[in-house]
């Protein structure tokens, strides 16, 4: 039998698929792009949710991984479009416009960054952890601003979207489907992770560090692995996001971006599997609808966030289906 939350999750996944298909039928291309943006930002949030939701790691530096994924795309694609190798000595590395290769490199690069950032920042906790992750993110942000080879402050544009074998990625619905399938696969992975031995130990480390040590497991190792997986997923989202816009800039690395990813997770429900999807959808809808009336639309976002934090600790998903049932 399905729990209420699972039923809701299936409905949400179906809605995210149905909306752009309907939009396609009605020739509303812009809505397809919005849905793609929701899917990609939700993916970034699913990444953060592993660290924040399961592990209780309040990272305000996930923009670093989002931006690294973005720059992985930007750098590889820029070299490919200009027919300039990235380096020739000691060996030749060329750019590429193949999405699967770009994704792989985005994942590896952001996982490595998460390994280094995590290994240093996970020695702290609480407010110090928030500040040190923030600092690492900002460090990369300022580095990108001064990195003139890839546009510096102006960012790096690419002319055509990268390619996926057998698909026309410039067709909005096909690119949406790529993002959608990746999101679904990562959601399945995340759901399994949450119920795995690793997920149990990580969730225990969030609640009672001393207990985890007493049964012979090391919280630091659990958290570091979670942080790397989390960063890798957010990095993949960054590569897709840059491909959606055909543009990458330091903005992707700024702490604003970290905050937004965290807002998706909090609005949807911290630790809830589909929380980031709900959060990203609400964020994009508010931006799109209220943004038309006033450029101060984020006031309403802030209000919503405040309500969530004050009255619905399980976020919107928690408000709809109630407290999480401990899974058996």
């Amino acid at each position: 039998m399905l729990t209420r939350e699972t039923t809701l999750n299936i409905a949400l996944a179906a809605t995210l698929l149905a909306v752009p298909l309907l939009a396609l039928a009605m020739d509303e291309i812009f809505i397809i792009t919005l849905a793609t943006k929701v899917a990609i930002l939700a993916l970034a949030g699913v990444g953060l949710n592993i660290a924040l939701g399961i592990g209780g790691l309040v990272s305000l530096g996930h923009a670093a991984f989002f931006g690294i994924g973005g720059y992985a795309m930007g750098i590889l694609a820029a070299h490919a479009q200009n027919y300039e190798p990235i380096m020739e000595v000691p060996f030749l590395i060329e750019g590429t416009n193949q999405m699967p290769i770009i994704w792989l490199i985005a994942i590896v690069a952001s996982a490595l960054a998460a390994l280094v950032i995590g290994a240093l920042s996970l020695r702290t906790s609480g407010v110090y952890f928030i500040m040190i992750t923030l600092a690492f993110g900002q460090m990369l942000y300022y580095f990108a601003i001064s990195w003139s080879a890839y546009g510096g402050e102006d960012g790096q544009s690419i002319w055509v979207r990268n390619e996926f074998p057998g698909l026309n990625t410039l067709d909005p619905i096909q690119f949406f489907l790529i993002a959608y399938v990746i999101l679904c696969l990562v959601l399945v992975f995340s759901a399994r992770l949450a119920r795995s031995p690793f997920g149990l130990a990580l969730a225990a480390a969030r609640q009672t560090e001393e207990r985890v040590m007493t049964v012979g497991l090391t919280p630091f190792h659990l958290r570091l692995v979670a942080f790397v997986i989390s960063g890798a997923i957010t990095g993949l989202a960054g590569a897709l996001y840059a491909d959606l816009n055909r543009f990458v800039s330091p903005t992707m690395l700024s702490w604003h971006t970290s905050g937004e990813i965290m807002v998706f997770v909090i609005i949807g429900g911290v630790g809830r599997l589909f929380g980031p999807l709900v959060g990203a959808a609400v964020f994009i809808l508010l931006e799109h609808i209220l943004g038309g009336f006033s450029e101060y639309w984020q006031i309403f976002l802030g209000l919503l966030l405040l309500l969530m934090v004050l009255f619905a600790r399980g976020g919107l998903i928690g408000a709809i289906v109630g407290r999480e049932v401990a899974h058996d």
Binding site: L193, S196, F198, R211, T214
Partner: protein, 253 residues
């Protein structure tokens, strides 16, 4: 059991917090098959000593051996892996978990491999078997699916013991397992610990004097961080210094 090497050996442990000597040259040992009770008035340094033995606090001087191995420089995790099973005075269970999840966590720790990302941990036969066995032994099998936060205080103490059981430790370190149990609960646990000592010896910190005198093969009395006496229950009862420093105080209170 004669001449057996001690499972735990504490040699001249000292620990100060500023001017306060929380542990003052403490030595004690725990032999196979015994329950060794550690008693003393509030503030005598029992918890500080337990923390140093379990590895969460580092002594200023002295050494600690587990199964003949010097563990003074090892952390909590390494000592747990060597076979030190600890229960906490202040419950440190994962409150959002079900009762079963808490014991499965213990079984997972005993297995020592938590880096498995795909299998459903709550469908792992070996872990569940070990978890249910531990729950049955403390009489919590009927509560397996309840949220830990919803348990009574006494049930949480039982669960603490169950988690320690899943580790199949070489020795138990129990910090006031009877606290808040009520008369029937503490009687049941007394009977249980009486049997448990044959699986692994127990260093028992306890305020319940009935339980201590019923269970302990030996008793060590700690006052102001220092050991004032070690001996059998009868010896401790007869010890004038102990009566003055501790038992008499209790009677007067």
């Amino acid at each position: 059991m004669t001449d057996a090497h001690p499972v735990l050996k504490v040699e001249g442990i000292s620990k100060s917090f500023g001017a306060l000597k929380a542990s003052d040259n403490v030595s004690l040992d725990l032999r196979p098959g015994e329950i060794h009770a550690l008693i003393g008035p509030n503030g005598a340094g029992k918890s500080t000593l337990i923390k140093q033995i379990s590895g969460s606090l580092r002594p200023d001087s002295g050494r600690i051996e587990v199964l003949g191995r010097d563990v003074t420089d090892l952390d909590t995790v390494a000592r747990a892996r060597l076979g030190l099973g600890r229960t906490f005075q202040i419950s440190s269970l994962a409150m959002e978990f079900t009762v079963l999840q808490n014991v499965v966590l213990g079984a997972l720790g005993a297995r020592g491999r938590a880096f498995s990302f795909f299998r459903n941990v709550m469908k792992d036969k070996a872990l569940l078997e070990s978890a249910y066995r531990a729950l049955e032994r403390v009489g919590l099998q009927g509560e397996a699916q309840r949220r830990t936060a919803d348990l009574s205080h006494g049930q949480r103490r039982q669960l603490e013991v169950a988690v320690a059981l899943t580790l199949q430790p070489k020795l138990f370190l129990m910090d006031e397992p009877m606290a808040g149990l009520g008369a029937s609960g503490s009687k049941a646990l007394t009977g249980f610990l009486d049997q448990l000592r044959h699986e692994a010896p127990i260093l028992l910190v306890e305020h319940d004097m009935d339980a201590v005198f019923a269970l302990a093969d030996r008793i060590t009395v700690l006052v102001y961080g220092a050991v004032i006496a070690t001996g059998t229950a009868d010896e401790i009862r007869a010890n004038a210094e102990v009566r003055r420093a501790y038992l008499g105080e209790e009677d007067a209170a």
